[in-house]
């Protein structure tokens, strides 16, 4: 489309680009500021000299954080929950999405099952009964408490279900003609063809497990078992240093509370920042995929 730009149009375009630029920068400024603080000396940080660039550059806070046993332990717990959670979530998402993607004529129970799953999105028992259930099933204080209660992520399941439905019916019919059953059709045809949707769901699941913190806080009796985000909740948000030993208090005076927290905030966000380019590419597709309906 060839456009003749009038004066007012030119002003609008200039204004539009400026507004959007400012808005986009404003979104990231707080994060950049905290990153700058984490690389600054503690005296500069506590005096408030740091703006958007480190002042008296140092890696002391990072050395301190990475040397802490609790920090490493919590990262290991997070890696465990992400890997166990990913396997459980993906297998169950695929296994539930496939039958529910069938037409009612082909799978009579479909509607009933679908409602059983979807109803959990509309109604939940609340915090205390969930805690009791986890306690009675004996998984309190184990990685399973962070995985099993959300073993079938309904949103992801629906996303995949809609993708399955969008696949050509002929493929499935051909597979059945060749004597393949449902299991073979699912693993040999549906799963390979759904790579983009599965990639989206995999990334969503990993980000979700990495970011979860509240379950760790209440289902883990011992802080030793806290995953990273739960651990960060206690040190960055609750800022409770009453239990710190005298030695670590002396250590902390050298590395201010503030630079120390900033370094941990940045490390907690780092994996997300690393997968972000992929996430962005996939989730645009994912949202479009999820809306494919018949």
């Amino acid at each position: 489309m060839v456009e003749r730009y009038s004066m007012s149009r030119k002003i609008f375009v200039g204004f539009n680009y400026s507004i959007l630029t400012i808005l986009a920068i404003l979104c990231l400024l707080p994060l950049i500021h905290v990153l700058a603080v984490s690389f600054s000396s503690s005296s500069a940080a506590s005096a408030g000299y740091v703006k958007l660039w480190p002042v008296e550059f140092t890696l002391d806070s990072y050395k301190y954080v990475l040397g802490k046993e609790e920090f490493f332990r919590s990262i290991m717990m997070t890696i465990r929950r992400v890997s166990v959670g990913l396997v459980v979530n993906m297998v169950l998402t695929i296994l539930v999405a496939y039958p529910l993607s069938k037409e009612v004529e082909k799978f009579r129970w479909r509607t009933i099952y679908a409602w059983v799953f979807v109803f959990t999105m509309l109604f939940n028992g609340g915090l205390i009964p969930l805690y009791m259930t986890i306690r009675y099933t004996g998984i309190l204080d184990t990685v399973w408490a962070l995985v099993l209660p959300q073993a079938v992520p309904i949103f992801n399941m629906i996303l995949l279900l809609n993708f399955f439905r969008g696949l050509p019916k002929e493929l499935e019919e051909a597979a059945f003609m060749d004597g393949a059953g449902h299991w073979k059709t699912l693993w040999k045809i549906f799963v390979p063809l759904s790579a983009p949707a599965l990639a989206t769901v995999t990334l969503f699941t990993m980000v979700n497990h990495w970011n979860s913190w509240f379950d760790g806080l209440i289902f883990m009796n011992s802080p030793k078992n806290y995953p990273l985000q739960s651990y960060l909740q206690t040190v960055v948000i609750q800022h409770n240093f009453t239990s710190a030993s005298l030695e670590s208090i002396a250590e902390l005076q050298k590395i201010s509370d503030r630079t120390f927290k900033s370094a941990q905030i940045f490390l907690g966000a780092l994996p997300i920042l690393l997968v972000y380019p992929f996430l962005q590419r996939f989730f645009m597709k994912g949202i479009v995929l999820g809306s494919v309906k018949e």
Binding site: F12, N16, L20, L23, A24, L28, P30, L31, A47, G48, K51, L92, L95, V96, Y98, P99, K102, F107, W109, Y113, F117, T120, M121, L122, F123, N124, G125, G126, L127, P129, L130, Y131, M132, T133, R135, T137, L148, A151, I158, L161, N162, G181, H182, W183, L186, N211, W213, F214, Q229, L232, Q233, V236, I237, R258, S262, I265, G268, I272, Q280, I287
Partner: protein
């Protein structure tokens, strides 16, 4: 022939039955003087005593009110900002600029409230926070944003918009690209300028999706955002910032009043069920929206 299909569903179904339907059944402790040592079977039934006890607490009404005010504030501002940004982005012709802006504004959506809460506590700090340094620099008084009852709710709404507006912008941008381009061509021939086109074609074209997202958002009006509030609030701002979910947490986990906390949770779940079903029904009826 259908047996494999049942078998595939079975593991997921069992887990859902235990960990989603189990707690639903467990809500019966809302009608008990629940004692964990005695368990559900042997705890004493006390009818509606827990509900009566909660209604008599001085904080309860305030907590419900806070929840509604915060949630509605987020719905309104969280609706306007992404629509405006989508409209502005839609006017951008340079693809790389559009993509760069999108990449920058989506990012906070993927970070947890622990990370964003940590960042907010730092930048809003009354002593070293950069926001207050700026206020002092331009000659204003510094403000304790997260500790002041007049500032806490606006801060919740603003930080929620910061996290989510970029993500929601996509939905509206997608709706914008689906508007029939011939409508614009016809409008140009009729002499409509850009502003008129936006007013008479773009906005009406977006109306269905706007109505849909609002309806679905209203179904969650009791969710004021536990993750966010829990990581930003403190006893100083309970008066304006304490919401149903944080209230349940303190009653149940901190004070160990299991029956009472479950009663509040059950109240919330039942109201949420009614609101959600209504909003999904309306969305289905008027926008032909289906969950699956």
């Amino acid at each position: 022939m259908q047996l494999p299909l049942h078998l595939m569903i079975l593991p997921g179904l069992l887990l859902i039955l235990v960990y989603s339907y189990g707690p639903m059944f467990g809500t019966i402790i809302a009608f008990q003087d629940f004692n964990p040592a005695r368990g559900i079977i042997d705890s004493e039934w006390n009818g509606f005593d827990n509900f009566r006890y909660v209604m008599a607490l001085p904080d309860t009404m305030q907590v419900i009110w806070n929840t509604l005010v915060i949630a509605v504030g987020k719905i309104i501002v969280g609706l306007i900002v992404p629509i405006v940004v989508a409209l502005l982005l839609n006017e951008v012709r340079k693809e790389y600029f559009k993509r760069t802006v999108q990449t920058m504004i989506y990012l906070p959506h993927f970070l947890s409230w622990i990370i964003l809460g940590g960042v907010l506590i730092d930048i809003l700090s009354p002593t070293y926070g950069i926001v207050n340094q700026f206020l002092k620099w331009i000659g204003l008084e510094s403000i304790y944003f997260l500790g002041s009852n007049s500032w806490f709710r606006p801060m919740l709404v603003m930080s929620d918009v910061w996290k989510e507006f970029g993500f929601n912008t996509i939905v509206y941008l997608a709706a914008l690209t689906s508007i029939n381009p011939t409508l614009y061509e016809a409008a140009v021939i009729d002499g409509a300028n850009r502003w008129k086109q936006t007013l008479h074609i773009t906005l009406p074209g977006m109306a269905p999706i706007i109505i849909l997202t609002t309806t679905l958002a209203l179904g969650r009006v009791l969710d004021a955002g536990f993750d966010q509030v829990f990581n930003l609030y403190s006893p100083q701002v309970y008066e304006t910032g304490d919401i149903i979910d944080t209230f349940v947490y303190r009653l149940g986990i901190v004070d160990a009043q299991y029956g009472v906390a479950t009663a509040v949770g059950l109240f919330k779940s039942v109201v949420a069920l009614i609101l959600l079903s209504t909003s999904y029904f309306l969305a289905y009826r008027f926008a032909n929206y289906r969950i699956f």
